[in-house]
């Protein structure tokens, strides 16, 4: 603005006062305006950036994104989504920048904003660049601390159970012939009736209940994300308690239910979860089930 104003003022003066050198100054001011604008635009156009990052990240936790960039003149740049602080670079530079993801997603690209002032920095050309990542980054939800629900015997929901459970939570491993001294309550009457001789149950020690987390991300997106974070919290609590955890979600491949052995695995599953009806897993024995969804 100052330059443009000066150019106009000089021009008016040169056209009235006849000062030839003022015309030269007009030319200088105009060329400075024009050249610096073109230079900044050119510099922004010629910035090239490549990006790479880790396989996994968590919402709300910074992770390092490796950038390799080339620029003919000094520029500053920062990631917009996920966000980062501004960094400067010139020539060819490689290095990490700390970025902060704010939402659960599978990050396939990163949006970066480049501020290029050219050589002189009078004007700043802003260019937004979408950098495709060589491999996606699974951004898992940040777990919310939750308390596990009480476990109960699986009702089976009409599906066939894969094994029996004793009322005390002990598992029937096998059946053998009755021997003297065996408690009467251990007699398996059904087998006794079939075999026509007394048979007793052999029991295993009681197992930890299985945590089943069913996550449905349909409905309000905000609530869905909160549910995802709660699901992460349940999984984390379950895993820390030594419980087998089954996570049931819906993702791009359709319904998906399966056990998760670590938070990394759970995080990836949750990062990729999409709105849709999850399957209801069938689990025998003691089950602590959590259903997270709309309503």
């Amino acid at each position: 603005m100052v330059l443009a104003g000066a150019a106009v003022a000089f021009f008016a003066a040169s056209r009235t006062a006849g000062a030839g050198w003022l015309t030269v100054m007009v030319a200088v001011a105009v060329s400075l305006l024009g050249w610096t604008a073109i230079d900044a635009w050119w510099a922004a156009r010629h910035v090239t950036i490549g990006a790479n990052g880790p396989a996994d990240a968590t919402v709300g936790r910074e992770f390092e994104l490796d950038l390799a960039a080339r620029s003919p003149s000094p520029v500053s740049m920062h990631a917009i989504d996920p966000s980062s602080d501004r960094h400067w670079m010139v020539g060819y530079m490689e290095g990490p920048i700390a970025v902060l993801p704010l939402r659960r997603c599978v990050l396939r690209s990163v949006e970066v904003e480049v501020h290029a002032g050219g050589s002189l920095g009078v004007f700043t050309a802003i260019r937004k660049m979408v950098l495709t990542l060589p491999r996606p980054i699974d951004v898992a939800p940040s777990p919310i601390a939750v308390a596990l629900p009480p476990a109960a015997m699986s009702a089976g929901h009409g599906e066939t159970a894969v094994g029996g459970r004793h009322s005390d939570g002990e598992t029937v491993r096998s059946v053998r012939e009755y021997q003297t001294g065996d408690p009467v309550r251990m007699i398996n009457w059904a087998v006794t009736a079939r075999r026509d001789q007394l048979a007793v149950k052999e029991l295993e020690a009681p197992q930890a209940p299985t945590l089943v987390v069913v996550l449905d991300l349909s409905g309000d997106p905000g609530q869905a994300e909160r549910n995802a974070a709660m699901a992460a919290g349940y999984v984390q609590t379950g895993l820390r308690s030594g419980m087998p955890v089954i996570l049931s979600t819906h993702d791009e491949g359709g319904q998906h239910a399966g056990g998760v052995g670590s938070m990394l695995e759970a995080g990836r599953r949750l990062a990729r979860a999409t709105p849709g009806r999850p399957p209801t897993p069938v689990v025998d024995g003691m089950v602590a089930q959590v259903r997270l969804g709309p309503g």
Partner: protein, 711 residues
């Protein structure tokens, strides 16, 4: 309240870069010196600027982190005092005209710059200094009438670019770098600044060429000053020191000229003009003229012709003036009541005749002596010697005429006033009849006076030759007859005289004028540069209702209504071309020198580039050079690095797609470790990687026609 004031004046983020401060300081100082050379400041301001500004910058750097509330208060008071001093000076200078106020304003600006320099802690303040240096330079530009400001402009532009480049990098330096071990951000600033400077010069030249030319259509100031007040003993008489012993009022000392005449002295600026004299003034710069358009700068006229010499029939000067501006009374034939205001400022570069030059018709003159002398025919003389450095402004009211206007105002049809007819139709009886016959013959088909004038001009153009090298006029010969029928060669005195005599023989009032042609318009200053060789004589013809109109077959000066100022760059090529021609024409050695300088300059530039490249190789890190080498290998393989490709991606591309040596992976690992790793790479690893690179590069470049990269 106090807390609010303190909060508002709390220290801002300071500029830590000393380089930026030095660059800005130099930029400001260049502008200050440029302004000082235009004579805007007295010794106090000059010393204050030259010493105060550097001290201020030093102080600002030392106190850049301080709140400096007290200092700000002192500076504010000082600024008020400076404005007060300006008001006092401006009030006193009002009577001297806007020009004096303009100088006072320029000096005030200088003081604002001095005061401001004492507190420039932040980059924003420094950039303000840069901007104000631009304004100062613009003021200097407005005042400058010479090319001597050009080196300052170049230096200022260089400083401006350096300041901007360094400030830009300094602003970025506050951010974290992308690389863990970045190069200094200032590295490469000098070549960047030089490149930008060169680009700006090119663009500015192109813009300048396309801009409309400067015009002095609305003058606010009417400069006038004397470099020395030396009264002429015989007030009102003609004084021309440049004519030597023959001047000022006497005739020629010899037939060949005046004894002791200056090389630029013109014999026409005398009481009489002897057409038998030979010898022309040289290229010495006589004066600069600021004017909106080219015009004849008239000096005086002659009305009486005796066949060899022109004289003035009435030459008793009358004193005019007493106030500023000096009103100029009309004289015989000054018919036009109105006309285009045409302001000319004359800057004398040589001590010359005390004739006040100006375009027809001068109506007011700003002259420092407050008094002038006017001859009956209208010529103006000063009462003081016209020393080099004298400045005066003439306001003329030019009748805006076109060829059609002149054709419509025919003196032969409308009538000729008696006072005009009494002086400007005289033809000596001694004039050979064939001169009169020729005039009648040439104009036989012309119906108007204007057509007759143009017909005579055209005949002269077709049948005579303009040359400065003519033989002496034989004793007793009529100058016009000798020119028209004997030699048909002559210069302006012969041509102008012949035109006047031929027109007078047809009953058309005409007179001979001596003065200067417009000179060459300097495309930079916008001023006309009038040289000794521009001294000229030409004819003036009377047109009723319009007045005296100049005609000259030898000088192309457009009519006042037909001038188009054009673009600023118009004539730029001509300006330089003429100088080169002149240089080459005068001394072929100069051409050789120009060529040698050009070659030497090219060699210096190439040498500097080579040195810079070698220096870069010497200072660049191993990994930088290794990266360049990989790029080179890739380009040789026809697989140039994609702009978005990282090193790993590129190596992947080279190895998998272009079939490059797989050992590139090892090299890439060492480069990455060297650039990004927490510990430096050992010399042995670097050497091993470099050997692999060299081997691959040698292999690729030696097989350009064959598969370039091999596993």
């Amino acid at each position: 309240m106090w807390e609010a004031i303190k909060d508002a004046n709390r220290a801002v983020e300071p500029e830590e870069s000393a380089e930026v401060r030095i660059a800005v300081l130099l930029t400001v100082l260049v502008a200050v010196v440029a302004l000082l050379t235009e004579g805007v400041a007295g010794p106090v301001s000059t010393l204050g600027a030259l010493f105060g500004i550097p001290f201020g910058f030093y102080l600002s750097h030392r106190m850049r982190r301080a709140d400096a509330l007290g200092l700000k208060a002192v500076l504010a008071l000082t600024l008020v005092a400076a404005v007060g001093a300006f008001m006092v000076r401006a009030t006193a200078a009002v009577s001297e005209g806007f020009g004096a106020v303009q100088l006072a304003l320029a000096e005030l600006f200088l003081w604002v710059q001095i005061i401001h320099s004492l507190h420039v802690p932040a980059r924003r303040d420094l950039m303000f200094s840069v901007a104000s240096s631009g304004v100062m330079f613009a003021i200097a530009s407005a005042l400058s009438i010479r090319l001597t400001i050009a080196p300052f402009l170049i230096a200022w532009l260089l400083g401006l670019v350096a300041s901007l480049v360094l400030a830009h990098r300094s602003a970025l330096r506050r951010l974290p770098a992308l690389a863990t071990d970045p190069p200094p951000i200032g590295a490469g600033a000098a070549p960047t600044a030089l490149r930008s400077f060169a680009a700006l010069l090119v663009v500015a030249t192109l813009v300048f060429v396309a801009l409309p030319a400067a015009r002095s259509s609305r003058a606010l100031s009417f400069p006038s000053s004397l470099s020395a007040n030396l009264p002429i003993p015989d007030a009102g008489s003609l004084n021309n020191p440049s004519l030597g012993e023959g001047g000022p009022t006497g005739g020629p000392a010899s037939a060949g000229g005046f004894a002791g005449r200056d090389s630029f002295g013109y014999f026409g600026f005398a009481e009489e003009l002897d057409t038998s004299l030979r010898g022309r003034p040289d290229e010495t710069l006589i004066m600069r003229v600021r004017a909106p358009a080219p015009a004849f700068w008239r000096g005086q006229t002659f009305d009486t012709w005796d066949g060899r010499t022109w004289t003035q029939s009435a030459n008793e000067p009358v004193s005019i003036g007493g106030s500023e501006p000096i009103g100029i009374p009309r004289t015989a034939g000054d018919d036009a009541a109105f006309g285009e205001e045409f302001i000319q400022t004359f800057y004398m570069e040589q001590t010359g005749p005390n004739i006040v030059f100006g375009a027809y018709r001068a109506s007011e003159v700003y002259f420092p002596d407050r008094f002038l002398f006017q001859l009956p025919e209208g010529a103006l003389r000063s009462g003081v010697q016209m020393e080099a450095g004298t400045v005066y402004t003439v306001i003329s009211h030019r009748p805006v005429v076109t060829a059609r206007d002149l054709a419509a105002n025919d003196p032969l049809r409308v009538g000729i006033p008696p006072e005009v007819a009494a002086h400007y139709l005289q033809v000596p009886d001694s004039t050979p009849p064939r001169v009169l016959d020729l005039a009648a013959e040439v104009t036989a088909d012309a119906t108007t006076t204007y057509d007759k004038v143009k017909a005579v001009e055209a005949w002269m153009g077709a049948n005579t030759t303009y040359t400065l090298d003519i033989p002496p006029l034989p004793d007793g010969a009529d100058s016009v007859d000798h020119y028209l029928f004997e030699t048909r060669q002559g210069f302006c005195e012969q041509i102008g005289t012949s035109l006047v005599v031929m027109l007078r023989s047809l009953g058309i009032p005409a007179r001979l004028v001596v003065g200067f042609t417009p000179g060459e318009r300097n495309p930079f200053t916008g001023l006309y540069e009038v040289r000794g060789s521009d001294a000229h004589s030409w004819a003036e013809v009377y047109f009723p209702g319009i007045g005296w109109q100049g005609f000259d077959p030898t000088a192309a000066v457009p009519l006042s209504g037909e001038f188009d100022p054009g673009l600023a760059g118009e004539g730029l090529g001509r300006y330089f071309g003429e100088r080169l021609d002149r240089a080459l024409g005068v001394a072929p050695a100069v051409g050789f020198v120009v060529f040698a300088v050009a070659v030497a300059g090219t060699l210096i530039v190439l040498g500097a580039q080579l040195y810079q490249r070698r220096r870069r190789r010497a200072t660049a890190s191993w990994s930088d050079l290794a990266l360049e080498q990989i790029d080179h290998i890739g380009r040789a393989a026809g697989a140039a690095r994609s702009p978005t490709a990282t090193l790993r991606e590129y190596v992947h591309q080279l190895v998998d797609a272009a079939g490059a040596d797989e050992r590139l992976w090892d090299v890439a690992a060492v480069i990455s470790a060297d650039r990004l790793g927490p510990f430096p790479v050992s010399e042995a690893e670097r050497r091993a990687a470099q050997e692999i690179l060299d081997e691959i590069e040698h292999s690729s470049t030696s097989r350009r026609k064959a598969p370039l990269l091999v596993r």
